[in-house]
């Protein structure tokens, strides 16, 4: 079913506390990022390099996936392929059941959100415990993440304090952030120790060496990949890169763009399960490669740039629309500008097509994108795909072509390609400036007075001034 973005957004705009929390954090994230890129020329150079790395990887995707698989298998990591989220969930369930595991600890993973693994496993009596502090808070609140890097971006410390107190009444109430974090540590430490399975996402997969690379700050990700006897990594097929040499520039851009840090506390490069003679590390490592519509994006020169994304969230942080409404209004796994181009292509324009309207095309997103994805250009393209009548290059297309709108543009086009008619109508509008029915401005006048045409047109005024024309 199609989402109702406009309605969701209107609702979000009325939630004052979300508005305040969101805008505070967004402006901090922007400040942190800009402090990390003080040299504009260097930034441009680095993002050109990163763009070309991602471009090369996506162009060579099938070959790199096979190479990756070969190297992972050689290293002892098991590889699973899933067309759909259901298949991916089933793969995870099978592994859980084979180990008679009743719960797993999970590091932050947007692909696991995409899979809806928590709900799926719950329906089979298996619990997923989120261990990233932000995700932990979101899970307590029974919500979905509102941001891909800062899941609890819309909550302030007071709200988090009462949430924690509700679930852990034995611990004294506190709004101190150190204490709130300590509560999560206290609760989860035992879980890490006893978990039969750990699950995480992946930031980059290196085809050349068969390596899974994860970045994080808290150490919960390392706990999930290191302590339980089984580690399951889930990720999208597009996360592969060709060479180990491709990793340092991407890492640097990812982390700085996301949070402004020079590097995360932990960069975890996993190339093998526990080897003979080693005392720890998982006995089994599984990688689930999820397609779920991604491969369909590869066939178009312009659209495939969507897959270059490294999920830093910078476009989200800089989007003026996201800043007003937050992540939930999008009703997608990935919100913001990148979500607005990715989700309709993956799940179909009929469902998410409205998100292409969630942009003023201001260009703030592409200006900060570390891999130079031309997001406004792709939005423009998708708007076309949504209304065009000939062929169509995106799944579930053509839903937005409304007959009345199509007729209006047809008329507009007739008028504007007929100068005499245009001049006549423009003059007419100026003469009727006081008689324009207010109804045609609906929406506009929520916050603004109706625009009023001038007394005469520029055409008339310049003609009267005797400006030369040919």
């Amino acid at each position: 079913m199609a989402i109702n973005f406009r309605k969701n957004a209107a609702k979000a705009l009325k939630q004052d506390d979300i508005q305040i929390n969101l805008k505070n954090v967004v402006s901090r994230l922007r400040d942190h990022r800009s402090a990390a890129f003080t040299d504009a020329a260097l930034f441009e150079q680095l993002r050109l390099e990163c763009k070309s790395i991602r471009e090369r990887a996506v162009f060579r995707l099938p070959r790199l996936l096979e190479q990756l698989e070969g190297n992972l298998l050689r290293n002892g990591i098991q590889v699973h392929w899933a067309e759909t989220t259901l298949q991916a969930n089933q793969i995870v369930l099978d592994i859980m059941q084979r180990h008679q595991a009743t719960f797993l600890v999970k590091g932050k993973s947007m692909v696991s959100e995409e899979m809806g693994i928590n709900a799926f496993l719950a329906s089979h009596g298996i619990e997923c415990l989120e261990s990233d502090l932000g995700e932990f808070i979101i899970q307590l609140a029974n919500e979905k993440p509102a941001h891909i890097i800062v899941p609890a971006i819309h909550k302030n410390r007071k709200q988090i304090a009462s949430l924690m107190h509700k679930y852990f009444p034995e611990m004294p109430y506190s709004e101190d952030i150190d204490i709130l974090a300590a509560k999560a540590r206290y609760f989860l430490r035992d879980k890490f120790c006893n978990a039969p399975v750990g699950m995480t996402g992946v930031n980059f997969m290196v085809a050349e060496t068969g390596t899974l690379c994860l970045v994080e700050n808290e150490g919960n990700g390392r706990m999930c990949t290191t302590v339980p006897p089984v580690h399951i990594a889930v990720t999208g097929i597009e996360k592969v890169i060709e060479r180990l040499d491709d990793l340092p520039p991407l890492l640097s851009m990812l982390v700085r763009s996301a949070t402004g840090q020079p590097i995360t506390t932990y960069v975890n490069m996993i190339s093998s399960p526990r080897r003979e003679g080693e005392q720890d590390g998982p006995e089994e490592v599984h990688l689930v490669l999820l397609d779920n519509g991604r491969s369909n994006i590869c066939g178009d020169m312009e659209l495939q740039e969507t897959l270059h994304c490294i999920r830093c969230g910078a476009c989200i942080n800089h989007c003026p629309v996201y800043r007003q409404i937050g992540g939930h209004a999008y009703d997608t796994v990935i919100p913001g500008p990148i979500g607005a181009i990715l989700e309709p292509q993956k799940a179909g324009m009929d469902r998410y097509g409205e998100l292409t309207q969630a942009s003023t095309l201001c260009g703030a997103c592409s200006e900060v994108c570390p891999v130079k994805i031309p997001i406004p250009k792709i939005i423009n393209r998708l708007r076309w795909e949504a209304v065009r009548q000939d062929t169509c290059n995106v799944s579930g297309s053509c839903p937005a072509r409304k007959p009345l709108e199509a007729v209006i543009w047809k008329i507009w086009s007739q008028v504007c390609s007929n100068p005499g008619l245009y001049r006549l109508l423009a003059q007419l509008v100026t003469r009727l400036r006081n008689c324009i029915p207010a109804a045609i401005w609906q929406g506009w006048t929520i916050a603004r007075t109706p625009p009023k045409p001038a007394r005469t047109t520029l055409h008339e005024r310049l003609k009267a001034k005797g400006i030369d024309y040919e």
Binding site: P62, N75, L133, A181, N217, E218, T226, I237, L247, T265
Partner: protein, 215 residues
Amino acid sequence: MNDTRKAILNRLNHYQLKYSGIESDAKAKQTDWGLEEKVKRFTARMQAVQAEVHEASLETWPEVLQEICHAKAINNLLASPSTRWGKEIYADAKRFPSLKRFQQPVEAWKTDFFNTIEAAVTGSAGGIAETGSLILCPDMQEPRTLSLVPPIHIALLEKKRIYNTLSEAIHQQNWVQTGMPTNVILISGPSKSADIEQTMTYGVHGPKELIILLV
């Protein structure tokens, strides 16, 4: 399973566009700072994220380690007896807190490990000046969890093994040619989070303190 794999790869191959081969020549310039500058940068970056950096020498480090253990009132110290550093520690065991070793697989003593070990000391495979990172390649002697589970992680790093950048480390350590270690970890400070109001808090799930002895 194989059908799924085939279907995905077939589709990708079918859709695959011709790679234009436009590879950017824009490669970040490789910096070379020299030893002193590298140490300075490494230290500054580490301190900026609340890590402690102590300068010592090949002769004095056991003494510095002893002082740290004393100052932090550490009651037990997890250390490998068979590494270069570990041998020296165990040879002079009486000056350190009660020494613990990873004698058996983690499963055999997980609860104990999680709940009683206060600090661990490890070596390191190198450092990175640009980002202020330690490179750890855990192995049979020094398991992965040594630098993760105990609340205090003390790491020894030889100054001469501080690389300018991660790229340099990758090349100097020959990871591609000789095969990646099972697990390479870059560590840049103690565990932290800014998930609440983008305000930094230290010591979330990993070590609360990271202490580096530069030798």
